[in-house]
């Protein structure tokens, strides 16, 4: 790096800058050295070096150049030690030798190699169908999100060494699958985009969930997901589903401050303090959605965003336009059928046509092997029995659901619902114990 380069002070925006630069730098290094897995490690080391040095020494004038320089030097070191290792074992033939060039000479050329599509290429690579969802999530957060292994491990509450292995294995799978470092062809892009959007949505859901009673030290995955989806939208501005996903995230995240109480307990939508909803996020999400829907092809994320928007635009729960929500769930059942959609559809039916109609719908689901015995079926049933005024059935189903969930906040919520009804609608003492009558 040129000496005496001027710097600017480190501030919160610098951290954002670093994360934004990470995939650009990785794109350059991966293409240059034709080795994505090693390039990814080298960029991670460069990021860690920046996190150590920049807060102390200031942000360099050309931060991208700084990162490329450090990552290239690391790559060159790795390549040299690999050649040395092979030289000790065999005599290396010239074509075995990867390109090693003096770092200073490379820099200007590398800057010219910047490709605006790099981030997109990386995103498709990290969300490769050969990877399990958990591997794809971890790799996406590191390679595209510019997060450190420690941050990702902390967000998922696993040891750093375990997360490092998960990422390393994900890269081995990518290497083994032989994907070249280039943008997928238009048709392939269309086929693989749903997997990319799913990974982004999973990151968001995980973050939205872990924001409950979470300590401030835990990385905010929901914000990271929104940031990554924003970048994706900038790269694919014409895609209605990318916009739909971003809208869905914003319209859901808008309710973040209202969805938990002071002790971290879940607050259902109809009891939330709506003045706590983030109107800026709602406005942005709604505008994005309106634009996306005008493009004609309606997909899974746009429909879910549309449902979230209908909830968000109601000033009071009783103002909710349930007929519109029901119509949207009917579309969703056609576009993306699934047991959870069917369940939510039954709730909408109950809100429009009454709880008895909703319960009739649920009866049909008892034969659905994906859902029968699933605790969510009991949870919805409990809710509808409560609406119907059959409190004993409601209590029974709330408790059945509570025993089946693997989410602690949800379990607490369901147990509390049963207790609330039990307290309010206690049967007369002489009828309470059947053995006495």
């Amino acid at each position: 790096m040129t000496e005496a380069a001027s710097t600017s002070p480190w501030d919160p925006a610098s951290e954002h800058l670093l994360r934004e630069l990470a995939p650009q730098v990785l794109g350059v290094i991966a293409r240059r050295f034709r080795d994505f897995p090693s390039a990814e490690d080298a960029v991670q080391e460069a990021l860690l070096a920046a996190f150590r040095q920049w807060p102390r020494e200031g942000v360099p004038e050309n931060p991208r150049g700084w990162l490329i320089h450090v990552a290239s030097r690391r790559m060159t070191d790795m390549v040299r030690s690999e050649i040395a290792r092979r030289d000790r074992e065999t005599v290396a033939t010239p074509e075995d030798e990867p390109a090693v060039e003096p770092v200073d000479k490379m820099e200007a050329e590398i800057e010219a190699e910047m490709d605006p599509e790099d981030t997109l290429i990386l995103l498709f690579m990290c969300c490769h169908p050969a990877l399990s969802p958990s591997s794809a999530i971890a790799l996406t957060l590191r390679a595209v999100g510019g997060l450190t292994t420690a941050e990702i491990a902390n967000a998922f509450l696993v040891p750093e060494a375990t997360m490092a292995q998960r990422i390393s294995r994900a890269k081995q799978s990518i290497r083994a699958s032989g994907v070249p470092f280039r943008a997928p062809a238009p048709q392939e892009r269309g086929e693989r985009l749903p997997a990319v959007l799913r990974v982004l949505y999973l990151i968001f859901s995980e973050g939205y969930a872990s924001s409950i009673g979470a300590t401030l030290q835990r990385l905010d995955l929901a914000r990271e997901a929104i940031r990554l989806t924003r970048s994706t939208r900038a790269l694919l501005p014409q895609d209605a589903e990318v916009a739909g996903l971003l809208a869905l995230m914003l319209l859901t995240d808008a309710r973040r401050r209202a969805r938990t109480g002071s002790d971290g307990e879940l607050i259902p939508l109809d009891q939330q303090d709506r003045s706590l909803w983030d109107q800026a996020e709602i406005a942005e999400g709604t505008a994005l959605l309106t634009l996306a829907l005008s493009k004609g092809t309606v997909g899974l994320y746009q429909l879910q965003a549309a449902i979230a928007a209908v909830h968000d635009e109601a000033a009071r729960p009783e103002d909710t336009d349930w007929p519109q929500i029901l119509a949207l769930y009917e579309l969703l059942l056609r576009v993306a059928p699934g047991p959870m959609v069917t369940l939510n559809h039954a709730i909408a039916v109950a809100m429009v046509h009454g709880p008895a109609s909703g319960l009739d719908r649920l009866q049909a689901l008892d034969g659905d092997e994906r859902l029968s015995g699933h605790y969510r079926l009991s949870a919805v049933r409990a809710h509808l029995f409560e609406m119907l005024g059959d409190f004993q059935q409601a209590i029974h189903h709330y408790r059945t659901a509570a025993a089946g969930t693997t989410s602690l906040p949800e379990q607490n919520y369901l147990i509390a619902q049963a207790a609330r009804l039990d307290d309010a609608h206690k049967e007369p003492p002489n009828r309470q114990a059947p053995s006495e009558s």
Binding site: Q165, R166, S210, I267
Partner: protein, 130 residues
């Protein structure tokens, strides 16, 4: 999804199993290998072995919260010998790991076929509450 895999195989008063040295070594090597594999696969959250039951104390709060300890357990009582917490992509993967633990080698290298209790850890994201 996180699961805990519990090996409830210790009995009060049974003491250390008297296996031939080679068999004990094989058992220990098996467990070390297993833990290394789980770390390498990016699935291990934590693995711990627990002390023998004679170190166990049952504690209750007495008056004013003063601890009252009791350390005499019936001979038949089973104790947790050790546990693994894994973060895996499916329940089936958790069961497969449990089956591998179950078949740890015992005397003469024969699989022990220990019962392993597998339970989800309450860590799932809650759905939106309507």
């Amino acid at each position: 999804m996180k699961y805990i895999l519990m090996m409830n195989t210790m009995r009060a008063g049974a003491g250390v199993p008297a296996w031939p040295k080679a068999d004990l070594q094989a058992h220990i090597a098996f467990m070390l290998n297993l833990n290394r594999d789980l770390r390498d696969s990016g699935e291990l959250v934590q693995a711990e072995g627990l002390s023998f039951p004679d170190q166990a104390r049952q504690v209750r709060a007495g008056k004013d919260g003063v601890p009252i300890t009791d350390g005499v357990f019936p001979e038949s009582k089973e104790f947790l010998a050790g546990f693994w917490i894994v973060d895996v992509d499916s329940p089936d993967r958790a069961y497969a790991i449990a089956a591998r633990i179950s078949a740890a080698p015992g005397p003469g290298g024969a699989p022990l076929n220990m019962p392993i209790e597998v339970r989800p850890i309450m860590s799932a994201p809650p759905p939106e509450m309507l």
